[in-house]
């Protein structure tokens, strides 16, 4: 009897709640106007037409084709500068630096790892098309179609050459940056490339002081050091660098045969011209074998050490993820002594159980554990391969562009005295 009474009272309570909710829906019903008042339309400003995305892709293809033609057929630096200025104006100031190929890496990674995310076709096109062009013609995209590269390139006035060791060491940063951005995109944490894009604030005339200062610093540095962002930070440049090494028709300094006049020797602001080796001399078999054995020990060792280090730092890496941060905050939250942060308040309002949050957060942390191993091993591999690249002997007869580092800016072309035959 008591039980059923309790049940009925509970039922009444629930019904009452429903009623309360319903009455609250129409707390102040819309009045019936008698004075012939016409209600304004709720403003819903229309977004930019989807057709513009297609236009962007078409402009990208046109600019890439044109600049490739200028570089490989016309061998004209003026053409490259013209396209650079166009790209700065169109992809930079007009499109405000978004959509861009550099950031599209993250969209691709997120789409690969996250089944719920559908990549926009334009982002996919911006990722793939420059890669295909690079596979055939070298990094002509970097030369002047990428607004980030172009804006640094037009600033370059007094190029200085960096020490080789410094170039090699700084050249490792883009790999680390790429690894981190892939890790954060794959775990749907953040798009760090876009967040720390130094020039997008300048293109938009709108940024935090911090980002604007970084952008200005990069532009100032690029007066003296050619393309600091491209060479020492750009994660997409890493991919293009690797693809460009096996490109089919890369730019050549001379239109015909190299006469070894040395005129082009110091013309490259990026230090991407390989000099001929004076004495032809092959490494003897014993030292080659020793080197091979040493490297095949060092590289896996570096990978394991790197992976272990990365895995040890996985909790620190995971702290960037907002869910992990929230779970951490909730765990250490003491309602007596601490004031509720906006995050905790927001979470409370959402009414989700804390256990679910902890479960989700621990899953993300676990992803970061494996991600940390992979990231560390990747960095170890990169360092190992850089060492092996430094120690390999390559015989060269002529002055040739380094297919990986060369961005096909076409500055060296006018130094070559050889006529096209």
């Amino acid at each position: 009897m008591k039980k059923s009474l309790a049940f009925i009272s509970l039922l009444i309570f629930f019904v009452g709640m429903e009623f309360a909710a319903f009455s609250q829906q129409q707390r102040f019903p819309k009045p019936e106007f008698e004075s012939g008042y016409t209600q304004p339309v709720t403003s819903m400003p229309v977004p930019r037409d989807g057709m513009f995305a297609l236009l962007d892709v078409l402009v990208l293809i046109a600019a890439l084709s044109l600049i490739t033609w200028f570089i490989l057929k016309k061998r004209s630096r003026t053409g490259v500068v013209a396209i650079s200025i166009f790209s700065i104006l169109y992809f930079g100031f007009f499109r405000e630096g978004c959509v861009c190929s550099v950031g599209s890496v993250q969209n691709v990674v997120l789409a690969l790892f996250n089944p719920g995310y559908h990549i926009p076709l334009s982002a996919l096109a911006f990722f793939v098309i420059p890669l295909i062009y690079t596979l055939f013609f070298g990094r002509t995209f970097c030369a002047g179609v990428c607004p980030l590269g172009a804006v640094q390139d037009v600033f370059l006035m007094r190029p200085v050459t960096l020490k080789k060791w410094l170039q090699k060491v700084l050249g490792l940063i883009p790999f680390i940056y790429l690894g981190l951005s892939v890790l954060y995109a794959a775990t749907a944490t953040d798009f760090i490339i876009c967040r720390y894009d130094p020039f997008v604030g300048i293109f938009r005339f709108n940024a935090t002081f911090f980002m604007f200062a970084i952008g200005a610093a990069f532009l100032l540095i690029s007066i003296f050091i050619a393309r600091p962002y491209c060479r020492f930070f750009c994660p997409y440049g890493v991919i293009l660098n690797l693809v460009s090494r096996v490109s089919k028709n890369h730019l050549t300094i001379t239109p015909s045969n190299c006469i070894q006049c040395r005129l082009c020797e110091s013309s490259c602001p990026l230090d991407a011209i390989n000099k001929p080796v004076e004495v032809k001399q092959m490494e003897d078999k014993r030292s080659a074998t020793r080197r091979f054995i040493l490297l095949s020990l060092i590289i896996p060792a570096l990978m394991i050490v790197g992976g272990w280090t990365g895995a040890n730092f996985h909790e620190n890496l995971a702290k960037v993820n907002s869910k992990v941060r929230l779970a951490d905050e909730m765990l250490h939250f003491d309602s007596k002594t601490m004031k509720e942060s906006l995050e905790i308040e927001g979470f409370r309002t959402s009414g989700k159980p804390v256990e679910q949050l902890y479960l989700e957060a621990s899953n993300i942390v676990k992803q970061f554990y494996y991600g940390g191993w992979i990231l560390g091993a990747f960095i170890g591999l990169v360092i190992g391969l850089a060492l092996s690249g430094l120690s390999t002997y390559r015989y060269r007869e002529d002055y040739t562009p380094d297919k990986g580092d060369c961005v096909s800016c076409a500055r060296c072309l006018k130094y070559c005295p050889v006529e096209k035959d």
Binding site: Q25, Q39, M44, R48, G50, I119, V246
Partner: protein
């Protein structure tokens, strides 16, 4: 010997080139199958929004691309508007000391006897959500924060979405660019 070596290198290069080409085409193919035509836009779900005020400060655009939008169909045209007036207001006049909005972006005008119309002046609105909170607490919840798509630059990763404490931001297809919450039920008052 030399010629031989060169051929070998060329051959290796060709192999790598085909491998690279195949993987690019492969990735493109896999993703093209699950890609979606047309862009995605960022929008916030007013049902999840807690009006924390970060929309006003986190956006890469200043003033923020998030604006308060008035859903007139839900408005009760109240004289004592919870979104317009500060709590415990003495007299219902348009004096600045009575207004909740820090920028005076809501225009109050008389319609007929007990009813008043409230309009948002978009140019002044900074998207702080103070009026939204007031209206949701006291009234029908006809004032709602939304990403105004003529101002939003559609960042690859929305800066507000990253800072939003209630996870209210998501990518929406271009056809459903606005997300208005229906009539509010018993939300936290």
């Amino acid at each position: 010997m030399m010629e031989n070596k060169k051929n070998r290198r060329d051959f290796l290069n060709t192999c790598f080139r085909f491998a690279a080409g195949a993987s690019i085409v492969g990735v493109a193919g896999v993703l093209a199958a699950k890609s979606q035509k047309g862009d995605f836009l960022w929008q916030l779900d007013p049902a999840k929004c807690t009006q924390c005020g970060r929309c006003a400060t986190s956006c890469v655009v200043t003033p923020s691309a998030v604006k308060c939008i008035h859903v007139y169909d839900m408005c009760g045209y109240c004289d004592l508007c919870g979104g317009y007036f500060r709590p415990n207001v003495k007299n219902l006049s348009t004096g600045a000391e009575n207004q909740l909005c820090p920028t005076g972006a809501i225009k109050r005008s008389y319609v007929e006897d007990p009813f008043f119309k409230y309009e948002i002046i978009d140019e002044l609105c900074i998207g702080c959500g103070k009026c939204v909170k007031g209206c949701g607490a006291f009234g029908n919840g006809s004032l709602q924060l939304q990403v105004s798509h003529d101002l939003c630059v559609n960042c690859n990763q929305c800066a507000i979405a990253r800072d939003c404490p209630s996870d209210a931001f998501s990518r929406v297809p271009i056809e459903q660019a606005y997300k208005f919450a229906g009539f509010k039920t018993n939300k936290k008052i």
